[in-house]
């Protein structure tokens, strides 16, 4: 077992890849050779020094699209993760603190949302709300908060029953004080790994929706790149998939896996009892 403070290999891998993608997203303006919307070449050019990954059917530089795509994936990831965890913490916190019929009602809602097939519901909501990055982010947060709510509620309930918390309340500690001093520090680690897990799911869902043609048609995301590539008849029969389809697919996969391994590593790091048996 590693010492405390020693980062596991999962965490090192995850954080390094995340840092790489964050750097690409921040420096996209400097790194990308072209504006991803500019028609910088002929249609469907092969890779060349001018266009390292060739051009798409509209003559736009694929490498530039790929670099700017990191911004979209990370923005949706951060937005949806914060939304998911905030909603989940709010509902779970209220249910765990207030209890009674409100707790029963909220947990029923959690059960209902968790048993429904999420993707068809996601498709239905996106179809009616319209495709846009903000809508996609909001819908993902609206559908995926229940897992956080359940965990937060359980933890709040268990912390509230502990001796030192009862003591603090008996000595006149108000609800706000107890929340700040005792409950938040106990659910903090849960929220951190919840954020990372939610971010990974959001990246997969955003790219997936764009892949299904339900993404923001103006935002050049990795999912949309895959959609357009696959729309080209006979794409798989030439080598074109190598520089058009494979790079965005690899980027999405790598980002999701980085978030997954970061989440696992964080959980182990914050809760040594979870270390792999």
């Amino acid at each position: 077992m590693g010492r405390r403070g020693h980062l596991g290999s999962d965490l090192v891998f995850g954080l390094s890849v995340l840092a790489l993608f964050a750097a690409i997203a921040l420096l996209a303006g400097v790194m990308a050779p072209y504006d991803p919307h500019a028609f910088s070449g002929q249609s469907l050019e092969q890779p060349s020094p001018a266009h390292p990954l060739g051009t798409n059917d509209a003559g736009q530089d694929i490498l530039s699209e790929l670099i700017y795509g990191a911004r979209i994936s990370l923005a949706v990831a951060v937005g949806a993760a914060v939304g998911t965890v905030a909603l989940g913490t709010l509902v779970g916190g209220v249910a765990g603190t207030v209890g009674g019929w409100l707790d029963g009602l909220l947990m029923r809602l959690v059960d209902v949302l968790m048993t429904l097939p999420r993707l068809p519901l996601l498709i239905l909501l996106t179809a009616f709300l319209g495709a846009g990055l903000a809508q996609t982010t909001a819908v993902i947060a609206l559908l995926f908060w229940p897992a956080t709510a359940r965990v937060v509620r359980a933890q709040v309930q268990s912390v509230r029953r502990r001796g030192y918390v009862r003591m603090a309340r008996n000595f006149g500690g108000g609800p706000g004080y107890v929340l700040r001093r005792h409950i938040l520090p106990q659910i903090g680690p849960l929220l951190v790994s919840g954020l990372v897990t939610a971010a990974g799911r959001a990246v997969a869902m955003e790219a997936g929706l764009a892949f299904l043609g339900l993404g923001d048609p103006t935002a050049k995301s990795w999912g949309l790149m895959m959609r357009f590539a696959l729309n080209l008849p006979g794409l798989l029969l030439t080598d074109r998939w190598l520089w058009w389809l494979l790079p965005p697919g690899l980027c999405v996969t790598l980002l999701i896996l980085a978030l997954t391994f970061t989440g696992m590593g964080l959980e182990e790091h914050l809760n040594p009892r979870l270390r792999r048996l």
Binding site: P120, L124, L212
Partner: protein
């Protein structure tokens, strides 16, 4: 019998929520259900006041909301899901031709993934800590989290396009006429192989990890020590004692994750042009065919909820302790 009531009530409650969401969504959003039908962005439909009035009375939208709700519920219960705008066919009929393909795909993949997960998870737990176990755990995490559309694309490129072993798309050879039943089965099976393999790969990771961790925690139990002390053969220890006890959380997991297979199927059917419910909803989205999107959501939810209820019931049968509670 009384203890079945809460589960069944929760099932019916969820079903009711699905029905109500389906009813309210088009009515809560800007415009009304006809705004979706007569979408100005859609080149197929022309806005026409007369057509609109006719449609309004046809769909009963000129009646008060509670009446509409009652009619909608009655229609849904009797299997009337409206008509597809794109194909001008009853949604119920479309679903009847697409649902069997999805059931075939998800059923095959769930069975394969469960078997592999149970066998692999138990074996990995038995060898916990070895390099083989570590490789399997990492592979399980990667397979379970890599996006299904990417996994499918890679398999499609490798086996479909490069090697040419398997068909690129579809559920069977177009316009095929089968002389014998085995020929039909072989053709359907050949088309099923790649999509089912993709879905199995994405489902097996989570199941493998779950079984492995459950078996590892069972290994420390007293009854395992007793069984070993009795001198039972290794094989019996592994399968009759360790796996038997790790089976319960596995069935509970199956119940809770029935929807996961559907998510995978939507992407896979889109990618492989497989004629199931996922393909149907994808095409409906492209054509803004709202009745179909809603119908697919309703039917898929009902199937998932029923699978959920059945797995719950199975779990009660398997675990005597749950029966007492």
């Amino acid at each position: 019998m009384l203890r079945q009531v809460p589960r069944l009530a929760s099932y019916l409650l969820t079903l009711w929520v699905v029905l109500t969401v389906n009813f309210l969504l088009p009515r809560l959003l800007p415009g009304d259900p006809l705004a979706a039908l007569l979408d100005p962005q859609n080149s197929d439909y022309v806005f026409d006041a007369e057509v609109r009035a006719a449609l309004e009375s046809y769909y009963g939208l000129d009646r008060p909301l509670p009446v509409q709700y009652a009619r909608y519920l009655a229609g849904a219960v009797s299997g009337d899901l409206g008509r597809s705008i794109r194909l001008n066919q009853p949604v119920g009929k479309l679903i009847r031709t697409h649902l069997p393909w999805t059931l075939l795909l998800t059923g095959t993949a769930l069975t394969l993934a469960s078997l592999l997960g149970l066998l692999g998870g138990t074996e990995a737990a038995w060898r916990r800590g070895t390099w083989r176990d570590r490789v399997l755990v990492t592979a399980g995490v990667v397979a379970g989290n890599a996006p299904v559309y990417f996994v499918g694309m890679m398999l499609l490129i490798l086996f479909g396009a490069r090697l040419g072993w398997l068909p690129l798309a579809g559920g069977r050879t177009p316009f095929a006429h089968y002389d014998t039943l085995p020929a039909a089965v072989a053709d359907v099976g050949k088309h099923l192989l790649l999509p089912a393999l993709t879905l199995t790969l994405t489902l097996v990771g989570g199941k493998f990890l779950l079984v492995r961790n459950n078996v590892v925690s069972v290994l420390g139990e007293d009854f395992m020590l007793v069984a070993r002390a009795k001198g039972l053969p290794e094989r019996r220890l592994k399968w009759a004692h360790a796996l038997r006890n790790a089976l319960l959380p596995f069935v509970a997991h199956l119940a809770a994750h029935a929807g996961q297979a559907i998510t995978g199927a939507v992407f896979i059917e889109t990618l492989f042009n497989y004629p199931g419910m996922g393909r149907l909803i994808f095409e409906a989205v492209g054509a803004r065919d709202y009745p179909v999107i809603q119908g697919v959501f309703l039917v898929v939810s009902t199937v998932v909820l029923t699978a959920n209820l059945l797995a719950d019931e199975l779990n009660t049968r398997l675990d005597p302790r749950l029966r007492e509670a």
